[in-house]
């Protein structure tokens, strides 16, 4: 048998902060007091927060211990479909922490903040080139925020035409943020099904598209890992009825240098810099979700926008049709610096990134398709989606299998998404995984499936090696304890 990486070793327990410390300790260097205490309005004064006091050593050990309970991309393969858990280059971190960037106040006069403004401007340009769109705003703080911007642009566009549309077409494979973002702008999602090839048929769209419908949100490549091959046709249908086409570009990692979205009928698209452009996910953010538009929608982009004038950069609010502001300042500049560093480090080789991401996904698909049920047996893009259908007779679920994968040293894939595949197992290896590591992953999955046949208990009770065993999510929700 292959040797898998999963094993156990000493990992220390650690209580909660609130179970530690003693009043009077300090984990920080308090600045010198060089002024007298000033009088204070006692009626407004409180007691200060009742935090525990810990020493610096206690703090360092606390968080060092916690860190060892986590699995990160640096720990191993993290094939979370739809999440593009690629390697987060260390050099990007170095750039973002340069004091000139990290210490910069967002309201500095433009003349004193050219460096940051230039990064923003040039990143916008680079993203426009990569997506094939005309104009970009980096203000949205994450993918869903980008979607919201897009929906606001839809809303503003229709308003500018004097109409108020109330519906939006959203395929059943869409990420939950899509309908949620649309709803925020007052659009009711009209769900449409994908066809037997796992993509949208123009006919389906033609059936539902009408004058009350603001447009469509398509994820392309979609969450089944397929390119929406009818996108041009669909766009024509939507445009013909005065609607707009939104593309969720979360899966851009599949098609950099391959597809220009502006050319195929997309009007608005968002990106996730924390997916395609290698910025760390941070255990749940922060990210950045730039919104990209075609020329005709540029007037609606959020303000302020960064403009260039003879090599000097300024922030301008002077866009009367703009949807307004979405973020207190210019968005997540720290994330932009990382993404820009990544783009500069790859340049036109970004196309190679997509090629290899797609190669890796197809390789996994081929190697696992005799082991796991493959609902759509056709070439995929950057990810492939299996199901637990073959294991169902054994009473083994997707959840059981992926929990057991942890014992082999792998982070589970995304599961139970997209919703259209029952018991979905959505695997996105990214371009960073070597062939050897992918082979190991495939073998591990095969082992798990073998165990499912031989001793399902191994799977029901898995994982065994992780610091924590399966956690009771039901009782957590039934009786929520949300703080100490």
């Amino acid at each position: 048998m292959r040797e898998f990486a999963g094993a156990t070793g000493l990992i220390l327990q650690e209580p909660l902060l609130f179970e530690k410390g003693k009043k009077g300790r300090s984990g920080i260097s308090l600045p010198r007091r060089d002024v007298e205490p000033a009088p204070l309005d006692e009626t407004l004064t409180g007691n200060g927060p009742d935090f525990p006091d810990l020493s610096e050593v206690e703090i360092v050990r606390h968080y060092t211990h916690l860190s060892t309970w986590n699995f990160g991309v640096d720990t191993g393969m993290y094939p979370l479909g739809s999440c593009t858990m690629k390697y987060n280059p260390k050099t990007n971190e170095r750039q973002a922490s340069l004091p000139g960037f990290a210490g910069a106040h967002p309201l500095l006069p433009a003349g004193l903040s050219q460096g940051a403004l230039k990064v923003i401007f040039q990143l916008q340009q680079a993203l426009a080139e990569i997506t094939g769109m005309d104009a970009v705003s980096l203000q949205p703080a994450a993918g869903a925020h980008g979607e919201l911007s897009g929906m606001l642009i839809f809303h503003a566009y229709h308003k500018s035409k004097g109409s108020r549309r109330t519906k939006i077409i959203v395929p059943d494979t869409a990420h939950g943020t899509n309908p949620a973002s649309a709803a925020l702008c007052g659009f009711s999602p009209v769900n449409v099904k994908s066809n037997e090839r796992g993509v949208l048929s123009p006919e389906t769209i033609a059936e539902v598209m009408d004058d009350e419908t603001a447009g469509i949100m398509v994820t392309n490549p979609n969450t089944l890992g397929f390119f929406e091959e009818n996108i041009r046709k669909i766009a024509e249908i939507v445009h013909a009825r005065g609607g707009l086409v939104y593309a969720d570009g979360a899966n851009m990692n599949a098609v950099m240098g391959i597809v220009g979205f502006g050319d195929i009928g997309v009007d608005v698209l968002h990106l996730n810099l924390h997916k395609t452009f290698s910025t760390p996910h941070g255990g749940g953010g922060p990210g950045a979700g730039p919104v990209c538009v075609t020329k005709r929608l540029e007037p609606f982009l959020p303000v302020p926008r960064v403009l260039e004038n003879d090599g000097t950069f300024i922030l301008s609010h002077d866009f009367p049709q703009s949807i307004g502001k979405l973020h207190a300042f210019c968005g997540n500049v720290g994330i932009m610096i990382r993404a820009y560093s990544y783009i500069l480090s790859l340049g036109p080789e970004l196309k190679k990134v997509s090629q290899l991401a797609v190669l890796n996904a197809n390789y996994i698909k081929e190697k696992l398709k005799d082991t796991l049920h493959l609902p759509y047996d056709r070439p995929c893009m950057h990810e492939c989606v299996f199901s637990d259908k073959l294991q169902a007779p054994l009473k083994v679920t997707t959840l059981d299998m992926v929990k057991r994968l942890m014992d082999y040293g792998f982070h589970p894939p995304t599961i139970y998404f997209p919703l259209v595949v029952h018991g979905a197992i959505m695997i996105e290896p990214t371009e960073n995984e070597s062939r050897e590591d992918i082979d190991l992953f495939v073998d591990a999955f095969k082992e798990v499936v073998r165990e499912a046949g031989e001793d399902p208990r191994q799977l029901y009770d898995a994982p065994f090696r992780s610091k924590f065993r399966r956690l009771d999510e039901t009782s957590a929700a039934r009786n929520p304890r949300l703080r100490y």
Binding site: I28, F71, G283, L326, H327, A328
Partner: protein, 443 residues
């Protein structure tokens, strides 16, 4: 390329297995007319060393301390960040993990966020806090949306002393949903004029910021007294949570929701982002809350552990009926702020808050003595407004030339306040820095 492990052999063997003659053939499922005709026109690739040089020179063009003495606050605050915090949050187990959907191997993030939720609840005097939102501005917008859900009223009153950017953001969020937004004027003492409030019917929420954009502490108690027992939710927003180390908490004053920006708590300013949307509310509203929540539970062995919980509020379960569209939030910033708050401890937090106050009061006093008028009388924390003599632009510019950014000119936001500047003084400014500012202002 060092990020791409594939050798030529790997590629050809893998292509063979998947049955594609070339890398280009992997994309045959994309119709010909959807494929781009031109290569990517991008700068680079740069080597790591070229990147270092380029970024260093861009960063160098930015006006930051110690070269510059920057007295700007207004939603972004310069506080000292301990080396421990930078080290700890840089441990890649924290930074490179995804949202903790697989709790067995994400307990580091989960416990850290649970602790964050607790620290935030304590700091704001609220029952429960979520796992973070994007930033202070969107947090306030979400608060108003939530208040409308709870109160079933889309009419809200907001203070005109809420950060002007926040007010822009909430208009962006609320207008498509057809909210009625009433802006409350302000009093000569620098606080919100609450007089009109009594006469407005059917308010879903009243929102103020404290300390407000002029740096002044609002009379939260008065609003709390007004809303208590009514359907109207009282929302306290903030940009400088350190103030609650000194002043009474929103919770103590009767707020239903307290939300704002947490950048101040150990997070680099980074030209405005990423920040940290802090969001806390009363227990009874928890199921209407936006954003993720971490809750306590036990594992199969009976050991205490943590999971994401109450997910039925969220988009990935509820889709268009979710309490918010948020998915990725500001997790690592939340953990950072928790590290920072834990490092300070209760004792340190209090002391540091007091120092901010005292330094800011010192500057007030010195400016006053030098003949400058402190514009508003209400108590402040670490920001206040000073009125410079007419034609202050020239003065401001002269100070810029001397590498002093003497606060934020208020006229663009409040045209009725020409020559008014919002100055911020944190613990990073020594008495000597403050004296130098006064000296330079005097000419």
């Amino acid at each position: 390329m060092r990020y791409l492990p594939h050798t030529d052999d790997d590629i050809s063997e893998m292509l063979k297995l998947v049955g594609a003659p070339s890398l280009d053939d992997l994309f045959l499922t994309i119709p010909e007319d959807c494929r781009r005709k031109t290569d990517l026109k991008l700068p680079g690739p740069l080597t790591e060393w070229e990147l270092n040089d380029m970024m260093a020179s861009l960063a160098k063009s930015m006006a930051v301390s110690p070269d510059y003495s920057v007295f700007l606050g207004a939603g972004s605050y310069e506080h000292h960040i301990p080396a421990t915090v930078s080290y700890l949050l840089g441990r890649s187990e924290f930074s490179t993990a995804y949202t903790p959907y697989q709790p067995e191997i994400s307990q580091g993030t989960l416990q850290a966020i649970f602790e964050y939720q607790t620290l935030v609840s304590l700091l704001l005097g609220m029952d429960v806090a979520n796992a973070s939102l994007y930033d202070g501005a969107s947090a306030l917008a979400e608060a108003l949306l939530m208040a409308a859900r709870v109160s079933r009223q889309k009419k809200v009153a907001i203070s005109s002393l809420i950060h002007p950017h926040y007010r822009m953001v909430l208009r962006t969020y609320l207008e498509p949903a057809e909210f009625e937004i009433i802006e409350l004027p302000y009093l000569p003492n620098g606080t919100t004029d609450l007089a009109k409030l009594g006469s407005i019917e059917g308010l879903g929420a009243i929102a103020v910021q404290s300390p407000n954009f002029l740096g002044c502490m609002e009379n939260l108690k008065a609003i709390g007294d007004l809303t208590r027992g009514t359907k109207t939710l009282f929302i306290t927003s903030f940009t400088e949570p350190m103030a609650y180390g000194l002043y009474k908490t929103p919770g103590a004053e009767g707020a239903d929701i307290a939300c704002g920006e947490g950048q101040s708590l150990g997070i680099p300013q980074s030209f405005g982002g990423p920040g940290l949307g802090m969001f806390a509310c009363l227990k009874q509203h928890v199921r209407s809350m936006p954003g993720r929540l971490v809750g306590e539970t036990t594992d199969m062995d009976g050991k205490r552990g943590f999971v994401l919980t109450l997910a039925t509020r969220e988009q990935h379960i509820r889709r268009e009926k979710a309490t918010s569209n948020i998915c990725t939030n500001s997790g690592l910033c939340a953990v950072t702020s928790a590290m920072y708050m834990a490092s300070l401890g209760g004792t340190g937090f209090r002391e540091l808050a007091r120092l901010n106050y005292d330094k800011s009061e010192y500057l007030k006093k010195e400016l006053n003595a030098a003949g400058f008028r402190i514009a508003f009388a209400a108590p402040t924390f670490n920001e206040f407004v000073v009125e410079f003599p007419a034609g202050a632009d020239g003065l401001y510019q002269r100070l810029l030339d001397r590498k002093i950014v003497a606060g934020l000119p208020l006229a663009p936001y409040y045209p009725e306040l020409p020559n008014h500047y919002l100055l911020c003084v944190t613990e990073t400014k020594s008495r000597e820095n403050l004296d130098a500012l006064v000296r330079e202002l005097k000419g």
